[in-house]
């Protein structure tokens, strides 16, 4: 929850919405406060004017007695919750509907809440000395008090919906743009992972800047794909165009072999040349195969592959070869069927390459295991040996094309086996890991 909130806060539309809400609220509050102050002042002024008028009425009385009579008479008709009249005569008698005795004169605010229910809240009182006594007229400030509530209501009615609408709008926009950003993000991920055909499906409903970014990403991906395509095309054209001449060389060497007796010096040289040609042909074949696998086109004919059967077949195929070179090859295949969608021949080539690598690069007496299992719904194929292994620093490098460890320069192989393995595993959406088998190497494939 906290993480989600933090994430929300980092979203640009939410920030903009919050900022706008804050700005709008501040402005609204300020203007409301100003109008409140103005209204309150004018109310206050009106009450003062009324008070002056009231007082003026009493001043018209000729003496203290008349004032007292007038006050009493007025009090009878006056609602004390509106107007409170009080006259303290020179001899200290109290007239009126409320008793307000003040030391000071002039305007002041009084609260008459104590014992009598008809008095209500705060009053604005004007006290003057009159004929030796003290006259106070107080008018209720209830209207002004009510003004606060009115303004509070205005505030709530106008501001709250605005805040809510702005916030939910911001959230909606945030989620929308988050989706759009995610669409672009996914495409970039796919591109990074090597799927150069990935494109942002830009929708016309998107915001203009998003559409522009999406189109730019697509443009970039298109250019990259075209370049890759060209490089692939060139390299497979080269490989392809060289195969016919290689075929010719092989033909000529074959013809030569008919003329040169095998056990002579010439015959031995010839045989070496033929072996070299076979090696060159296999490098080209591997390069073409890797190019084809990397282009992703074998995906079009993927079918369910029975990995149990595949592992058992290959361990059986290699078992006599392993025995002949004093290795032990053990297959650990579970009874329950494990199937993946894929290309049987390519997956078979992967197992073959890994087992051949293990046979080639481990000393006599080494133990090689080919195991199959499932882990979290994934098929896991492991080929492990207890040979010398690969130093950690070299493990990344052995996946490079034509790379060979110094230690294995003199063993057969063209340095393309693991590149093909990696390509095929990627084609199947899997991962390839070279791990330490302590001692030895463990190659783990998860599909």
């Amino acid at each position: 929850m906290k993480a989600r909130l933090a994430q929300l806060w980092r979203s640009m539309p939410v920030r903009l919405a919050l900022l706008l809400v804050l700005l709008f609220s501040t402005v609204s509050l300020l203007s409301l406060a100003a109008s409140y102050a103005v209204t309150q002042n004018s109310f206050e002024a009106a009450i003062r004017a009324d008070l002056e008028q009231d007082i003026a009425g009493f001043r018209a009385a000729p003496n203290a007695g008349a004032v007292a009579l007038l006050v009493d008479a007025e009090s009878r008709d006056t609602d004390p919750s509106r107007i409170v009249l009080s006259y303290i005569s020179p001899n200290g008698r109290l007239f009126g509907n409320g008793a307000i005795a003040r030391d000071d004169e002039g305007y002041h605010i009084v609260s008459l809440t104590q014992d009598r229910a008809e008095y209500d809240g705060a009053y604005l009182a004007l006290t003057i000395p009159l004929y030796g006594g003290q006259l106070t007229v107080a008018r209720s400030r209830a209207q002004i008090e009510a003004l606060g509530t009115v303004f509070l209501n205005i505030l709530l009615i106008s501001l709250l919906p605005t805040v809510l609408i702005a916030l939910s709008g911001g959230l909606y926009l945030a989620r929308r743009s988050k989706r759009h950003v995610e669409v672009i993000g996914h495409t970039l991920d796919d591109l990074t992972d090597g799927d150069l055909a990935a494109r942002v499906s830009v929708s016309p409903n998107w915001a203009d800047d998003m559409i522009r970014i999406g189109n730019k990403v697509n443009q970039m991906a298109g250019a990259q794909e075209a370049q890759m395509q060209m490089v692939r095309q060139v390299s497979s054209d080269i490989a392809h165009d060289l195969k016919t001449p290689i075929q010719r060389v092989a033909v000529h060497l074959d013809d030569l072999a008919r003329l040169v007796p095998p056990e002579t010096e010439g015959g031995i040289l010839l045989e070496k040349a033929q072996d070299e040609v076979t090696g060159i042909a296999s490098v080209f074949q591997s390069l073409l195969q890797i190019a084809s696998v990397e282009s992703g086109s074998p995906k079009s004919h993927f079918q369910p592959v029975d990995l149990n059967q595949l592992c058992l077949t290959f361990s059986e195929v290699y078992e006599p070869a392993a025995t002949a070179s004093n290795h032990s090859l053990i297959a650990e295949v579970p009874p329950e069927p494990i199937k993946v969608k894929g290309d049987k021949n390519l997956l078979g080539q992967v197992i073959a390459n890994l087992v051949e690598n293990a046979l080639r690069h481990t000393p006599e007496g080494s133990r090689i295991s080919l195991s199959l299992k499932t882990q979290d719904e994934h098929a896991v194929i492991e080929v492990a040996d207890n040979g010398a292994g690969i130093p950690e620093a070299e493990r990344e490098k052995v996946l490079r094309r034509l790379y060979r460890l110094d230690a294995s320069r003199n063993t057969p192989g063209n340095g393309l086996g693991l590149s093909l393995v990696e390509g095929v595993v990627k084609l199947h959406g899997g991962t390839l890991q070279l791990l330490d088998n302590a001692p030895g190497l463990k190659v783990r494939i998860v599909i």
């Binding site: 040609v277 296999s282 074949q285 195969q289 070869a321 002949a324 078979g348 046979l359």
Partner: protein, 223 residues
């Protein structure tokens, strides 16, 4: 057999043609797809050997057109491309087998022989024989010169495959495809190790070798 080679690279074409003629086949050779199609359509060939990349009418179109006319002559495609899809598209177009350049002549010759309609041992036969070797398919018993030979299931399958194609060369890749149902390119001599195990049981105790190694090609059992 009467064969047609459609191949535009002169060196390769001459090489194939000469080799096949030396083996006693009658071979016609053309370097261009259109001409190849006209000749092939005559229907007088036992096997067609067609390069996929040809000027004008390419190999795929040639075979597709030919199949469209109802002609079912077996076709062996030759190609410089060797990816799985190329193979599949070739087979989908109506090709029967596929050989990737550069190839050894032995491989070509063995595959041409396998494609020909020469009758092989009939499916319903229950006993396969070669010289003094007998294979009883129902009881799954193998005897040579009166002695019982114990074979593992895969050794039995390997021997059965060779016996059914008595007198014909089977290459290593053909054996891998037929006996193990896998098509891949082994760097090591896996097939040799299986054959040598089989030999140790079938040939070694006896004075005559039945399983012959054909240099540059594969293996063959002679009758």
């Amino acid at each position: 057999m009467k064969l047609l080679v459609v191949e535009d690279d002169a060196t390769t074409a001459t090489y194939i043609t000469r080799g096949l003629r030396e083996e006693g086949h009658t071979v016609d050779m053309v370097s261009e797809g259109r001409e190849g199609l006209i000749l092939a359509a005559s229907g007088s060939y036992d096997v067609l050997i067609v390069d996929r990349m040809l000027p004008e009418v390419d190999g795929l179109t040639l075979v597709k057109t030919l199949r469209g006319t109802g002609n079912t002559t077996p076709v062996l495609f030759l190609t410089a491309m060797g990816s799985v899809e190329d193979r599949i598209s070739g087979l989908n177009a109506g090709g029967d087998d596929y050989l990737v350049k550069p190839f050894a002549f032995g491989e070509l010759s063995a595959r041409v022989a396998a494609l020909s309609r020469r009758p092989q041992a009939l499916e319903q036969e229950t006993v396969l024989r070669a010289a003094d070797l007998e294979m009883h398919l129902i009881t799954r018993k193998v005897m040579r010169a009166g002695q019982v030979i114990d074979l593992l299931p895969r050794e039995f399958a390997l021997l059965e495959h060779l016996l059914r194609r008595k007198g014909r060369v089977q290459t290593r890749t053909m054996l891998l495809e037929a006996v193990w149902d896998i098509s891949f390119d082994p760097m090591t001599n896996v097939v040799e190790t299986h054959v040598s195990r089989l030999r140790a049981k079938v040939d070694k105790p006896f004075d005559r070798e039945l399983i012959q190694t054909v240099r540059g090609a594969g293996y063959r059992i002679d009758g």
